[in-house]
Amino acid sequence: MADASSICKSDFCNAGWAEVLTHMSPYGFANFGVAFGLGLSIVGAAWGIWLTGSSLVGAAVKAPRIRSKNLISVIFCEATAIYGVIMAIILTNKIKEPELADSYLSANWDFNGFYYAGYGMFSAGLSVGLTNIASGVSVGIAGSSCAIADAQDASLFVKILIVEIFASALGIFGIIVGIIQSNACTFPVAAL
């Protein structure tokens, strides 16, 4: 496998990916999952809102009647952010510290269980966050098209709203996968 001449001499080297991934705390993985889940969802929602909002107010200069109806596009983008908040709340409630208060855990703890939970929460957060970026941008572009089309012809609003509904369904797929992933992830609180 690895002979002495190829192993890095410093104390801070890792022997491979297995060491890298198991030298980072599972609580770190879990909390980064929470952070990415919430933060990236908000980035996606924000992206969608500025795309829709700027087209909305621009088109409303010549067609003021579209103002109130097209706010529904902004609400679709906001829903993307709500999915991120839901995921963050679910994950945060699952991050539990061990019941004993020692400075280190003895050998009879379920270390594999810690890492299983940590990796699962990281993946759940990334699934929700990055899917919501895609969904938010897509809803934003569709909402912008909706506002411009509505300004031209009022009968087009409902037809292009269907495009927005399909786009926001992508965010729902993301949170479904995130919730199922987080179901199985529980941190061990007591020794084996």
Binding site: T22, N112, S123, L130, T131, A134, V137, I160, A167
Partner: protein, 194 residues
């Protein structure tokens, strides 16, 4: 936990690969679906302004792009059901073999959904605007040749059929990725039996 070896049959990091497969599948497939939906939606707006009655038919690229997102969801859920928790004694049951297979399954479905979704969007955008402008052109020429008596040829219909064919071929490639990922997700080995 000192010196964890990556060459154990069921190392600690194996669930990382499995969960990475789940996440990549849903993320990449939905990114492709979002690209397709957004691009085709702008085309619908542009052609719908001049030809409002064609909008319902032009929703086909949107539906095809949404189906790509569903493929990603299917793969994620299938793989997620097979990621085994560590057993009661603290030993990992999920093998590196299964973890790598699930990572590959996620990448297969995700990347093919990404490509397919982008393709559906670009091709759908062009096709929708072509159908819309054909409709406008034929209406304009009907106006000029009033009293011609000749039946209008079904040129618009043929263009629509071509659009549907292109969309079907574009959606097929994501289906290939789904098939490969379903086959990959069946490659399961658990330490300590089932």
């Amino acid at each position: 936990m000192d010196n964890p070896s990556a060459f154990d049959t069921c190392p600690t990091i194996a669930p990382f690969l499995g969960y990475a497969g789940v996440a990549l599948s849903i993320i990449l497939a939905n990114t492709g679906a979002a690209m397709g939906t957004a691009r085709a939606g702008v085309g619908i707006m542009q052609s719908g302004i001049k030809s409002p009655d064609l909008v319902w038919r032009n929703l086909i690229p949107i539906v095809m792009a949404g189906v790509n997102g569903i493929y990603g969801l299917i793969t994620s859920i299938v793989v997620l059901g097979s990621i085994a928790m560590p057993s009661m004694g603290g030993n990992n049951r999920y093998s590196l073999y299964t973890g790598c297979a699930h990572l590959a399954a996620g990448l297969c479905c995700g990347l093919s959904g990404l490509g397919s979704g982008a393709c559906i969007g670009i091709a759908g955008d062009a096709a929708i605007m072509a159908c819309g402008s054909y409709d406008v052109e034929s209406k304009r020429s009907i106006g000029r040749r009033r009293g011609d008596g000749k039946k209008k040829s079904g040129g618009g219909e043929k263009l629509f059929v071509a659009m549907v064919l292109v969309q079907v071929f574009a959606g097929n490639i994501a289906l290939y990725g789904l098939i490969a990922s379903i086959i990959l997700s069946q490659q399961i080995f658990y330490c300590g039996g089932e």
